[in-house]
Amino acid sequence: MNTQRGLEGVLLDEELTFSFIQFCELCDMSPAIVIEMVQEGVMEPLGAGPDDWAFQGLELARARRAVRLMQDLELNWAGTALVLDLLEELERVSHQVPGKRP
């Protein structure tokens, strides 16, 4: 077991964007898969084509989740996009449900 002190990471928030190539490297995915996800509407980067694409930091998690769901549940991209949208909606809604009373 090894312990390290105070590791500082980079926060992947909406202010941080990645180019297409950076995004593929960070996700550990082939450019072909990322292009497929964009074409199928699973990912929606800003910009017209791969050279201009800008992916938000938050989308990294969506991309990795998409590939896991597609492979593990043997889904097609349309089904994957639907599952992701519903899951994200569910997460949004669950934040609005009041917690315990003060």
Partner: protein, 318 residues
């Protein structure tokens, strides 16, 4: 190592057809996929069923597994048979995350992790970056407001003395940046799985979750807090002390404020380039027990009241 009963894991008979296996796996996968499931042990269960399906859906692997016989029980201490030539080599194929499958699987089917590299002896000439690892960390909303350092224990693949990839427990102290919101990821470069042949290590992607809080809920950078006020504070529009992440704040209620009305405290949410706001949700509560004197005053209010708060409510069928 423990024997794994792949048929039992998928809940199928040893005679199950390929279609039955697929159906059983898909049904269980929908229930236990860690990205979807709310079950506490989803991740462990899912890994097991994925491993079971990986073996049973492949006729060669299934035949090899079946050769072990049907006398084994799940969890029973297992030692591999001395001769493992028939079919077991079928394992060295496909690409999957390091440390994903059990020791039982690795022993039977070999480490197919870096297919085309390790498995066929070209280890030295094969250079590849390590895989990213994803983990979750649960923090309090206060930690997100102030920033903090939190300890995290996780299983990370590491290469042991024999050159095998094995999961090892690692403890990291991670700085939680001020203003992080629920669901965001922190990227820790080079803290993921090690690379091969001199390739760089992968990243650790840490998903931040907020633990449920007695007072606050968060939505993005905005914070919601329910605050009880008395009927007279609401009616008279008094100033009340309300909790915020930065400490107590005096909030002047509008005269006659209604229950469930949200009052905004600008910029009192989580910090950021555009800081979030805090919304105070007014909850009108009656202090109890009610003293005799208070009862008399309430009775007087009751007698003087001419407004029916429920006049707009319609009930059908009565």
């Amino acid at each position: 190592m423990e024997f794994k009963d792949y048929y039992k894991i998928l809940g199928v008979a040893r005679t199950a057809s390929a279609d039955e296996l697929k159906r059983a796996y898909r049904k269980l996968a929908r229930q236990y996929h860690p990205d979807v499931s709310k079950e506490a042990d989803a991740e462990t269960r899912f890994k097991e069923m994925k491993e079971a399906y990986e073996v049973l859906k492949d006729p060669e692997k299934r035949a090899a597994y079946d050769q072990l016989g049907s006398d084994w029980q799940s969890g029973q201490s297992f030692r591999p048979p001395p001769s493992r030539d028939a079919g077991f080599s079928a394992g060295a194929g496909g690409y999957r995350d390091a440390g994903e499958f059990s020791e039982f699987f690795e022993t039977l089917f070999g480490g197919g992790r870096y297919a085309g590299g390790q498995a066929d002896g070209r280890r030295g000439s094969f250079r590849t970056a390590g895989q990213p690892i994803e983990a979750r960390i649960s923090i309090s909303i206060e930690d997100a407001y102030h920033g903090a350092t939190r300890q995290l224990a996780l299983q990370v693949p590491a290469i042991d003395a024999t050159g095998q990839m094995r999961n090892q427990q690692r403890t990291l102290n991670v700085k939680i940046p001020r203003g992080v919101t629920a669901g965001q990821r922190i990227r820790l470069e080079g803290q993921g799985a090690p690379g091969f042949g001199g390739g760089p290590a992968g990243d650790l992607l840490l998903q931040v979750d907020f633990a449920p809080h007695a007072i606050y809920r968060a939505q993005g950078r905005d914070i919601y807090a329910r605050v009880p006020v008395t009927p007279w504070e609401a009616a008279l529009g008094r100033s009340v002390k309300v909790p915020t992440l930065g400490g107590w704040v005096e909030l002047k209620l509008p005269t006659g404020v209604a229950a469930r009305k949200s009052l905004r405290l600008k910029g009192r949410g989580l910090p950021g380039k555009t800081p979030g706001d805090q919304y105070v949700e007014v909850e009108i509560a009656v202090p109890s027990p009610i003293s005799d004197q208070a009862r008399q005053l309430y009775e007087q209010l009751e007698a003087d009241n001419t407004t029916d708060l429920r006049a707009d409510i319609k009930v059908s069928g009565q």
